[in-house]
């Protein structure tokens, strides 16, 4: 009996490895996608290891003698007006920015899946009510909506996550609902209905798995959007409270010293642009792999 279980486990693992290998074979053809994946992995790794990598404490270590200093061996990216090390602030900022966007997107995707599944599968009045709400929320431009929410909630990190999640959830709900509607009428789902399969079986075994690839593609894109949104919010002073570093915050600080200390604005900007670029490349690669229509 145990033996059987073990082989089953091995079989499952083998299957997964086989799938990953098949994925990699196709995915790796696109060099740009691989490059994007590398960037994203690199940034995530840095975000996780930031406390170990940062040579200075981004908030506490104030080098008064070296305020607004050029990049040098001690301060790779220079220092800001308080003499804080920009390199350390950018590293720690990665952690903050990534944590915010990952949480916001994950939460909004989760909400979106639930609403989209219910709305798309159940249909009728439930669909009507939910989609009216979703349409209502979507009639505000995302960033302005987030600004309004932040103004109402007050700025701290938790609230940014909440605001962005609220702003993005309707978009995910729409996507999931759309996919559910298209999958629901596929003949293989009808075949299960004819057989008498339960709603639970149809929803979770047949419909949900088919929603995951478009969802994954959209999540990648929205990670990028969320990073941009967090930076925008922080940049106008509505994001992560000072002196906590986030990429947007550092840019905000550097604004006044653009002429004399361009490095304060250049480095976090590069960090944002590179991360977003990586996510976009990865998203394009996933789309080509998962969504054959776009080829």
């Amino acid at each position: 009996m145990e033996y059987v279980e073990i082989t089953k486990e091995a079989e499952k693992k083998g299957q997964f490895a086989e799938q990953m290998r098949a994925f990699w074979k196709v995915f790796s053809i696109r060099k740009t996608a691989v490059f994007g994946l590398a960037i994203v992995c690199f940034v995530i790794l840095i975000a996780i290891l930031a406390p170990l990598l940062a040579p200075f404490d981004p908030v506490e270590d104030v080098d008064y003698g070296n305020r607004i200093a050029n990049p040098s061996a001690t301060h790779l990216f220079g220092t800001d007006e308080f003499g804080r090390d920009i390199f350390s602030r950018v590293l720690m900022g990665a952690q903050v920015s990534i944590a915010i966007s990952v949480s916001a997107v994950t939460i909004s995707a989760a909400i979106g899946i639930v609403i989209g599944l219910i709305s798309g599968y159940y249909g009728r009045w439930v669909d009507n009510v939910l989609m009216r709400i979703v349409d209502g929320l979507m009639s505000f431009p995302p960033i302005l909506f987030a600004i309004a929410l932040m103004a109402a909630l007050g700025n701290n990190m938790g609230n940014i996550i909440v605001a962005l999640a609220v702003v993005y959830a309707p978009l995910f709900a729409r996507l999931v609902r759309g996919t559910v509607l298209s999958v629901k009428n596929k003949e293989y789902v009808e075949a299960i209905q004819v057989m008498g399969g339960s709603h639970i079986r149809i929803l979770f075994k047949h419909i949900l798995p088919n929603c995951l690839s478009p969802l994954l593609i959209q999540m990648t894109t929205y990670f990028a959007y969320a990073i941009l949104a967090e930076a925008s919010l922080s940049f106008i002073g509505l994001g992560v409270p000072q002196p906590e570093p986030s990429w947007g915050n550092i840019l905000y600080d550097g604004r006044q010293y653009m002429l004399e200390a361009p490095w304060i604005t250049v480095f976090p900007g590069v960090a944002i642009a590179v991360t977003v670029l990586g996510l976009n490349l990865l998203g394009d690669g996933l789309r080509d792999y998962l969504d054959p229509r776009m080829k």
Partner: protein, 322 residues
Amino acid sequence: MDKTPLLELHDVKKYYPIKQGLLRRQTGNVKAVDGVSFQVYPGETFGLVGESGCGKSTLGRVIVQLLQATAGEIQFGKKGISTMSAKEKLAFKREVQMIFQDPFSSLNPRQKIGDILEEPYCIHTELTKHERREKASELLQKVGLNPMHAERYPHQFSGGQRQRIGIARALALNPKLIVCDEPVSALDVSIQSQIINLLEELQEETGISLLFIAHDLSVVKHISHRIAVMYLGNIVELATAEELFTNPQHPYTRTLLSSIPAEHPRKKRERITLAGEIPNPANPPQGCKFHTRCPYAEEACKKTVPPLIESNGHAVACHLIQ
């Protein structure tokens, strides 16, 4: 054929509401199926032919309960579907299966063939994983595929092979009736005949009833015992296959038969060409729905709907025949 019918339809209708305007108010109905009655007996193949938009596929979906009939009664084995309890409904779903037109969308691309074939057993039986696997490989052999194929995914098969898998899935629970919705129209000629032969063999073996929906008259003629011809949601003629093709009565049936391309260059038929196009089913003509295109239409045809009247097992709905 004096046995008790397996499936009986009494005046079944399926209307789709047309909603228009800002408030999505219902402004009318598309009468996809507009009062259809017939019986299917055990062991027989009942053909349903008609051109696109005649309601034949909708009717098939109503019978397997993918769609709810707007009116009328469907009886399966003496029991009305509308009066069935949840348990009886589940039993019904075990005994009636369906084969779909498109062999590419009828199999879940993310499931292995084995899993697709095991699914009916997961729903209706308490078999163990091992027993289900056995069953699945038996099914694969039954439809002429290699049991090793259970480990593959649908995209690794050709259209004809996928259709075989669809048939295997429909056979899994030993149903009494299979609704076949254009099962061969997406396939190449040489593959078509393989699938038709397979269906015939399986019927001989298991005594299953088939409701065969198709637009290809020669295929329907070949496989069916009795055939119903549909036009705009109604049956216009119903007879045995031989009778229908040798002695067609309804003007529409005659047109259809004369439209079939010749089998041999020297056997070209005299063709009856229809005027105009199929009317919009949202706004069908009054009286006999065929009168706008019928070469023989009279005053009476424009006013009253001809009933389907049977004599000697050959039923026709036409004022000019009665």
